[in-house]
Subunit: 228 residues, 2 copies
């Protein structure tokens, strides 16, 4: 079977995308620890690695990123308050470039043909989720591995995301429900780090909206029961 | 003063390039630990951080790369023998892409305009040293940070190397000698991990050749005294 390396946070997007890909690929997952508040995401990642039947899974600690980004980022700094609507401060610069370069190195080593991440058409606010970035990054990776004159020693890769195929979050959740059933409600989306997902941060609100749009009854247990 | 983030191994190329850049930029250095044999390079890096007067220096541990590359790479696996001539097995796939993506993230956070690494015109065998890769990677980074429609929140970066300006290793060493004097002989190039540099591996041979071409008397102390 063909091989795909997947950036696998354990959030609902990457879980649904990995479940979809596993129908055509042996999936090799990478989860990154970088001091984000969302520890439960990693627990979710481990659960779904087995559920999806991944061939291998690595958890890589890149928490040194905190020392570079400093205090300016709410995903790595617990002292900053979590915004309820989109705010550029929650974007770690070129975070996906770091994830994808490490994943691409593994893909070249494995002879995998695909490097995947869970970006979808709702991620327009994140520049490193957009297909124009994905395509440019794919080009750079293949030039970085091929001598550009004759063919490279290792096979070229493609960088794939739902966004590149025009797949929205709600469509992605439907694909996830088809593949995994009610288990998808066990995925973690919340930016905050409580026992239950807050239901109020931008990520929780996007999750609720997507279930709504997909006409899927949301069985996620949130700490705030009220609708927004 | 303008800011530059530099991938700074402590090898002779990055030391000479950093010394050159420090005439025009405040330099912020990053050294990566990834299980390479060349521990003395990091000691050299620390020494030259002070000598060059860098504003900040981070040593980041990405030795998890060993678990991804496995046993196929002599730079991370001490059981494999060191080839004396160029061999593709010594190339960690897209290694510079990993270094440059992390460095670019830091550059965006700092508002630095340059991200530099020490590739020169002798590095033709390494695809991720060549300007065609550097340009493609620069394009990807800026698309990953800008929304691609309006301008990005953070300033765009340029990726710079001596190679992009057509600078050879011997020219680079002359620039280094001008800036640092005989201290450049304290830099570490050797792929092996002894007390002294072996003088025989590909990297030592390139170093000797470059001093020769530059008509600089090589005062490096090698463990093998004979010429090659």
């Amino acid at each position: 079977m063909k091989k795909a390396v997947m950036v696998f946070s354990g959030g609902i997007d990457s879980v649904c995308a990995a479940a979809h890909l596993s129908e055509q690929f042996d999936v090799y997952g990478i989860s990154f620890l970088y001091g984000q508040r969302a520890g439960p995401e990693i627990e979710s990642a481990k659960y779904f690695v087995d559920k999806i039947g991944m061939k291998q899974h690595h958890i890589l600690d890149i928490s040194f990123m905190e020392s570079l980004y400093g205090k300016s980022n709410v995903l790595t700094d617990s002292k900053l308050s979590m915004p309820e609507t989109f705010d550029y401060s929650i974007v770690v610069p070129v975070r996906n470039a770091i994830f994808l370069s490490i994943s691409s190195a593994w893909a070249f080593s494995l002879g995998a043909e695909l490097v995947a991440y869970g970006a979808h058409t709702g991620d327009t606010s994140y520049p490193d989720c957009r297909p124009v970035f994905t395509d440019a990054f794919e080009n750079a990776m293949n030039l970085g591995e091929s001598d550009g004159i004759s063919s490279g020693i290792r096979r070229p890769i493609r960088i794939w995301s739902p966004y590149k195929e025009g797949i929205s979050k709600s469509t992605l959740l439907k694909m996830g429900l088809d593949a995994l059933g009610d288990d998808i409600f066990l995925t973690w989306s919340c930016y905050s780090g409580g026992d239950k997902q807050c239901g109020r941060c931008e990520s929780c609100r996007n999750r609720k909206n997507a279930f709504n749009e997909a006409h899927i009854q949301d069985k996620t247990i949130y700490s705030t029961s009220s609708d927004f």
